[in-house]
């Protein structure tokens, strides 16, 4: 199984997750994160307007665990729906998951997805 972590614009989450569902990839979860990439972050002014620091931008991480066979499909769908062509569109990271378990039934492996 593969875990696909896509860090995308929050505004694109609804599009991405709907498209994934249409392609049969229902199970997933999302987290609010802050991030910095090429789009480097911005100045922040404290009380009195003098203490300046760098802040990060708000992103959403979409995490979806899929069968190995579905990984490329999922990646393609995410790219298609999260892209604006502007800096800040985000990154996708892929890693290996060794097992999955459905809490309700105890089922394991691909069946648990």
């Amino acid at each position: 199984m593969k875990k696909i972590e896509a860090i995308i614009r929050p505004e694109k989450v609804a599009l991405v997750t709907e498209a994934l569902a249409e392609a049969g990839i229902v199970g997933l979860n999302t987290t609010q994160v802050s991030g910095r990439g090429v789009q480097k972050g911005v100045m922040h002014v404290g009380r009195g307007g003098m203490t300046i620091k760098v802040d990060m931008l708000q992103k959403t991480k979409v995490e979806v665990v899929v069968k190995d066979a579905d990984a490329e499909k999922a990646i393609a769908i995410i790219i298609e729906n999260a892209r604006t062509g502007e800096v800040g569109d985000g990154k996708i990271f892929v890693s290996t998951v060794t097992d999955a378990i459905r809490v309700r039934t105890g089922e394991r492996g691909d069946k648990a997805l």
Partner: protein, 415 residues
């Protein structure tokens, strides 16, 4: 004679109306995206700051200075000179110090431009907003206030606007539509969700608005007993009644057509009811208030749907649909119901029939729409051509909280 009961009530009402602007800040702030809440709150707070100063310097005298040609106030009250903190100005009210009247009116001048800001939320340059506020209060608000309340031609002619249906609500609602059109839509509007980020804030704002509106409407009698129209008590009661009916109606419609009894709908409906009863509040009884509130809930609900379908314009927080449409309905309804059910506390002026009054109200609607629409456009286009109206694409993407104010509402990495 200046007396403590009426003065105390007017001062308390003024405080209540002032609180409406922070209330609005939260109503609006909850409705926008998380990256824009501070920017939206700043619009309201800076309205409080900027208009307060403009008002005491030249705004009050333009609106309520001694009449010059039925069009504008003269400069007798420039910098509030001749505005006594102890003596009454008999033309406005014999019961309260002149300065108390100036204070009360100031609160209306503060909230009116703040209402407009919902239309151009999340994308206007802060410098442009500041300049716009100064110009709009001076050029659009002050003359209209003079016409309707300050002894100008609509006032003399017998148009009824108890607490600001045209001066405040239609005026800001139409300006909002124009502003939304001129500044253009938010980036990717219509393609991406731009929903409210904090519903409790919306409800808090609505609660403070409902509370403050008692000062707005019942204070507009300018006295606790007696006073203008049917008096403070009548205005208070119908205000509450219309708010309630507005909330019920909008909630019911969202339930019927959207499948859920929306909380944002309840809040919006209450505000719509409050908007619509504003011009009528001293002139109608309780049963008409039920009708006015119900109509407000329905018409404004409908207007939101219609305006949102019209994809050319992005009136971000539905200012036109609620204040423009609600205010227009209220102005009309004032004509229809004036004097009904007030148990003699208020009656139409002698010789004025209901039909005539409706006619006068319609004229006032047309005048307000035309005046506000035209001049708001002129001001905004002028600003756009000079210092520019809209932030850069990058700043809009990042959100104005950080880009314009340097204060993320809820910092990315709170400690």
């Amino acid at each position: 004679m200046v007396n403590s009961g009426d003065t105390g009530w007017l001062l308390a009402s003024s405080a209540l109306v002032l609180l409406m602007t922070p209330g609005l800040a939260f109503f609006y702030g909850g409705l926008v995206r998380r990256k824009s809440v501070v920017g939206v709150i700043m619009h309201s707070v800076m309205s409080m700051a900027i208009v307060s100063v403009v008002w005491v310097l030249w705004g009050y005298t333009l609106a309520f200075g001694p009449d010059a040609g039925h069009f504008i106030g003269n400069l007798d009250y420039l910098g509030l000179r001749n505005v006594s903190p102890t003596q009454a100005n008999e033309f406005y009210s014999a019961n309260v110090p002149h300065m108390a009247f100036a204070i009360f009116q100031m609160m209306f001048a503060i909230i009116t431009p703040a209402l407009i800001t919902g239309a151009f939320a999340e994308r206007m340059k802060f410098s442009a907003f500041c300049l716009f506020t100064v110009l709009w209060v001076t050029i659009v608000y002050a003359p209209l206030a003079h016409w309707v309340w300050g002894g100008g031609w609509l006032f003399t002619w017998g148009v009824l606007d108890f607490a600001g249906g045209s001066v405040v609500h239609m005026n800001s609602g139409v300006a909002a539509l124009v502003a939304a059109f001129i500044i253009g839509k938010r980036l990717r509007h219509g393609e991406e969700p731009m929903d409210s980020h904090n519903v409790p804030f919306v409800m808090l704002g609505a609660g403070l608005l409902w509370f403050g509106w008692f000062g707005f409407n019942a204070g507009s009698a300018l006295a606790a007993t007696g006073g203008l129209g049917g008096g403070a008590t009548l205005a208070f009661m119908v205000t509450n009644t219309a708010a309630a009916m507005g909330a019920i109606t909008w909630t019911a419609l969202s339930w019927k057509f959207g499948g859920k009894a929306s909380a944002i709908g309840a809040a919006s409906g209450a505000v719509a009811g409050l908007v619509a009863i504003t011009p009528a509040s001293g002139h109608v009884g309780v049963l008409p208030a039920l009708v006015i509130g119900c109509g407000a809930g329905a018409f404004c609900f409908l207007a939101v749907q219609v305006v949102r379908r019209f994809r050319k314009v992005d009136d971000a927080l539905d200012v036109f649909a609620v204040h423009g449409v609600g205010g227009t309905w209220g102005a009309l309804a004032t004509g229809i119901f004036a004097g009904l059910g007030t148990m003699g506390a208020y009656e139409l002026a002698e010789g004025v029939s209901q039909g005539t009054q409706i006619y006068k109200q319609i004229v006032s609607i047309l005048v307000t729409w035309g005046w506000s629409g035209t001049l708001t456009a002129v001001i905004l286009i002028a600003i756009d051509k000079t210092i520019g109206l809209r932030v850069s694409k990058e700043d809009e993407e990042i959100g104005l909280d950080i880009a314009a104010h340097g204060d993320a509402a809820y910092p990315a990495n709170p400690t």
